[in-house]
Subunit: 292 residues, 2 copies
Amino acid sequence: MDFKQNYIDEIINDRESGASELARRCLEMCADIIWKLQTDGVSEMKNEIEEFVHALQNARPSMSPIKNLLQTWLENLKSLPTFTLQEFRLEAMGTAEDLIERSKMAVDQAADSMFKILKPNSRIMTYSYSSTVMALMNLCKKSGMRVVVPEGRPLFEGRKFGKRISDLGIETTVITESQIGICIKNVDVVVVGADTVVNDGSVVNKAGTSLLALAAQTENVPVYVVYEKFKKSNQTSAEVVLEKMPEDELGVDTGKNLHIYNYYFDITPAERITAWITEDGVRLNKGKKFSK
Amino acid sequence: MDFKQNYIDEIINDRESGASELARRCLEMCADIIWKLQTDGVSEMKNEIEEFVHALQNARPSMSPIKNLLQTWLENLKSLPTFTLQEFRLEAMGTAEDLIERSKMAVDQAADSMFKILKPNSRIMTYSYSSTVMALMNLCKKSGMRVVVPEGRPLFEGRKFGKRISDLGIETTVITESQIGICIKNVDVVVVGADTVVNDGSVVNKAGTSLLALAAQTENVPVYVVYEKFKKSNQTSAEVVLEKMPEDELGVDTGKNLHIYNYYFDITPAERITAWITEDGVRLNKGKKFSK
C-alpha cells in the first residue's frame, strides 16, 4: 500500500533527525497506519502491522531506537487479549503514545543528568545533530557555556544545529571537520549523542565521531555520550551495519577510476569514552581519568 | 606599484597550489618585476626588490619554501659585484631560473625516494593537494597503487586532486574528512606533502593532517611526509603562524552568537610521523616501528 511505502521512504530519506526523533516518528506512523488499515479482524491487523514494523526496523539499521521502540510496542500489541478491532486500535494507539512520551522523558532526563556534571562556562564540542544534545543545550543557555560544532559533511546538519544552538543565546562556533584537531585543544569537554550503543559501550554515531573522540583522548578532553536507553543494543561492534548513503550527496562526479564513499556512521570504541549518561544517570568508564 | 600588488594578491589568494609551486611562482614574479621596474641604478633596484621579496614572504606565513627560496635568491643578489643595471637584471633572472630548476629537481628526487620505499599495490591515503605527492603519483601509475583522498573542505582541493590522480589511471576514492577514521583501517600507508617542516620535524600542512596522522598512528599505519628541503624551517612549532582564511569560504552565515573558524593549517607533531623523505633520501623516526 502506498501510504506504508511513503512512510518507510520518509524514514530512509530523513538524514536530519536524530535517532530518537526518528524512532518516535515511526511510532506515530504505526499509530496512524492502524487507523488507515482496513482488515477483517484483529489477527490480520496484527500481521499487517508486524510486517510494517519490520520494514521500518530495517529502514535504518544503524539506529537502534527504531528497532527497540518499535519492538517494545509490537510485543505489547501481541500480548493484548482478544479485543474487537476498534478496541485493539485504541489500545495500540495509546501504547504508542505512552512509549513516545516515555522516550521524550528519557531524553530529557538524560540531558538533565549530563547538565548536572558540566561545569559552568564550559567550552563544549559536539558533533552532528542530536535531539538529546539539543535538550541539553536548552538547559545550558543561561550557564555561560560555549559550543563548537563541526559542519557535518555531506549534508551540513552540524551547521543547522549550530544555528539552532546560537538562537538559544549560546556562543557557537562552526568549523570544518578538518579543524577538529586544532579546536579540540581549546574545549573542556566533548558531548555527543548516539545512534546506537552496542554491548561493550562502543558508540555508533555520525561518521567522524570516532575521530573526534580520538583527538579528545589525545588532548585529555573527556568524552561524554548522552542518550536514552532505547539506544542500547545487544549487538557487538562487528555486528553493526554501518549505513552507506548515496554517493551523489558529496557533490563529486565519479568517473573512470574515480570512486566515492559515503559512510554515514562510525563506531567509537568504548575506551575513548569517559562516561555514558542516560536517564538512569552517569556511568563512568573505570579505565579513564577525569583530567579536565 | 599596481603590478607588484597584483602579484602579492595572487599569492595571498591562491588556495590551490602547493607551497613549492607557489614558491617557484614567487621567483618567476621576481624575475618579471626586475624587468618591469625602472630605477636609476642597481642599488635602488636592490632596495625595491628586497621590499617586494619581503612582501611576498609575508603573504603566506605558513609556507616556508616561499620564505626560503626567495631568501636564497635575495642573498645571492646582494652578494653580486657592482654590475650595470642590465647585467644585474640578467644575473638575477638567471639565478631565479636556476633556483626554480633546483626546486623542481628536489621535488622529483623526493618523490622518487618515496616511491622506492612503497610496496607495489599499496593502498595510499593522502591529504589536500601537494605537487610533490602529484610527482609521486606520476611514478605510481603502473604499480597497482590505489589512493584515498579526503575532499578537502572548504575549497575541495582534495576532490580536484583525486580527479587528477584518477586521470593517471590510478584507482582513486574521494571521501569526506569525517570518514578518515573508517577508511584509515583499509589503507597501508599515509603519504602527505608539507607546507613547512619545523625544527623538531613537526609538519605544518593543510588543517586535518594532524588528525589523519593521529588516526594512522592509532591503526599502526605508517605516515610518510615527502618534501623538498626548502620546506625546512628553523622555527619551533610554537612560532609557526597558522594562517586563518576568510570565514565566508565555509558558506555558512554568521549571526548573533554564531561564529566561524577557518584555520587552513595545522601542525602534526613529529611523534606521529614514521619517516621524512626529501631529495636527500629517507630519514626514519627512530621512536617508531614500521608495522605495515
